[in-house]
């Protein structure tokens, strides 16, 4: 069953077309990677799904679909006196300890302030925040720079595990093609308009990638060890 169906989506900011003619769908248990150069509308797509920006076209989700959203970053001042535990329970759901465990963070993090966390830790807390509400659809916006924590599972292994455990639809914005090949069932290439959509091995041909990123750009298709 589709957890999300997008048809002819168009988003315009100040006469500037940020997204045009986007159509794709996602089923439960599927992972969709969204790729594209900077400014290609990836984050805008998420904000349209969330309802944070106005749009034309259709974004359909079954009634009562719960969304978990992991933003690239949150704009918090470092000295904000809010603890991880308080942040996780802002959503009225209990069991913050268990949720932290699911993202490989020790319970001792509950008492830490959000501002004390490293960017890798903050990202995991944001993932915990997103899954604490038992979402049907998880939107993950990858930070441009890698924030993985040494000696731990990568965020992608974590997301993959969570996705299987909860059978949720996952959309991840990624800057790393290795991640796309390894973890995504489908890929959506954006450059303000839809360049490709389908199974990664089929649609990510060199000519499509050149269309997406421009001819001269080198892709960082490096392998993770």
């Amino acid at each position: 069953m589709n957890v999300l169906e997008v048809k002819n989506l168009k988003v315009v900011y100040d006469r500037d077309v940020a997204l045009d003619n986007i159509s794709f769908s996602l089923e439960r248990g599927e992972a969709l990677a969204v790729i594209g150069p900077n400014g290609s509308g990836k984050t805008t797509l998420f904000r349209a799904i969330l309802g944070a920006v106005g749009y034309n076209g259709d974004i359909k989700m079954p009634k009562g679909t719960k969304i978990g959203y992991v933003p690239q970053k949150i704009d918090l001042e470092r000295d904000l006196p809010i603890t991880v535990k308080e942040f996780l329970t802002l959503r009225d759901h209990a069991a913050p300890e268990k949720t932290l465990g699911a993202v490989d963070l020790a319970p001792s993090f509950l008492g830490k302030r959000i501002g004390e966390l490293s960017s890798g830790e903050l990202q995991r807390v944001l993932i915990a925040w997103a899954i604490i509400g038992h979402p049907d659809l998880l939107l993950f916006d990858e930070p441009t720079a890698s924030v993985d924590m040494a000696g731990q599972k990568t965020v992608y292994e974590l997301l993959h595990k969570l996705q299987e455990e909860h059978n949720l639809g996952l959309i991840l914005i990624s800057h790393d093609l290795t991640v796309v090949y390894r973890y995504a069932n489908k890929v959506l290439c954006l450059n303000r308009e839809q360049i490709c959509f389908g199974v990664p091995d089929e649609v990510l041909t060199p000519s499509e990638l050149a269309r997406l990123y421009g001819k001269d750009r080198k892709f960082y298709q490096h392998a993770h060890s």
């Binding site: 949150i74 918090l76 925040w129």
Partner: protein, 254 residues
């Protein structure tokens, strides 16, 4: 039973506690100056209240709600730069208020005077402040979430625009009751200073809200006490004490 002295302490403490808690939420999103700006909008209302012998609170509240709706609408319905418009509108309001206010009342309008609070105003200020405290406690998680990230609030199924509007309305109410205490010019201090001091030392949101309220009350009680003793106006005395607390709190910054 409630002597006039006691009434002043109670009303001022409740106003300051409500303002402190409100301020701690407002400072989550660098909204500190909204309080300052809003209090200026109240001034024409205060002036009309004095001129026509109406209740100052009612005049102030009417103008505040009007000002709040304008800020909210500009932020969400237009693409105008909010701070510029806020700056222009609010100095205009201050100028209009200053022209309208009778000369002999201008000090009270600008700096407040809770010492001659009427029986009716005492109950009004106390009950409204209490209502603000209760509203903030009930909605504090939702407000916090939409103030720190409206996208996260949306993903959780909340309506951040509506929550923000509700927050600004509570803000307007708080400013309207606070005007009696510190006046239009110093009202921002009730909202900003105790919260800023609390933020320096609090380790969690719960502490942050509680300490803001306590600092507000402390400033109010000490300020009124000193003003009785030396015959100062209570509003500026409050600001001095709250400011002192802020500077002390810097040394205990965690």
């Amino acid at each position: 039973m409630l002597t006039p002295e006691l009434q002043i302490f109670i009303a001022a403490s409740l106003i300051a506690a409500a303002g402190g808690m409100l301020g701690s939420l407002a400072l989550l999103r660098r909204m500190a100056l909204v309080g300052d700006a809003l209090s200026h909008v109240a001034l024409p209302g205060v002036a009309l209240g004095i001129l026509f012998n109406l209740n100052i609170f009612a005049g102030a509240l009417a103008f505040l709600i009007f000002g709040t709706i304008i800020i909210w609408a500009v932020e969400h319905k237009t693409k105008l730069p909010v701070d510029t418009l806020v700056g222009v509108m609010f100095t205009l309001a201050l100028a209009i208020g200053a022209l309208l206010t009778p000369k002999e009342d201008i000090l009270e309008a600008l700096f407040g005077d809770i010492a001659n609070i009427s029986q009716f105003d005492f109950w009004l200020a106390s009950l409204i402040s209490l209502a603000i405290i209760i509203l903030l406690l009930v909605f504090y998680k939702k407000f916090t979430l939409s103030l720190i990230s409206s996208d996260l609030a949306l993903s959780a199924g909340y309506k951040p625009h509506i929550l923000e509007f509700l927050f600004l309305m509570i803000f307007a109410l708080a400013v309207a009751v606070g005007i009696k205490f510190t006046g239009a010019l110093l009202m921002g201090s009730i909202i900003i200073i105790p919260a800023a001091a609390s933020r320096n030392i609090a380790r969690s949101m719960n502490q942050y809200l509680a300490i803001s309220a306590v600092f507000g009350i402390l400033g109010a009680v000490l300020g009124i006490f000193i003003s009785k003793f030396y015959g100062f106006p209570p509003g500026p005395a409050f600001v001095l004490f709250a400011g002192a607390l802020f500077f002390i709190s810097i040394f205990f910054r965690r």
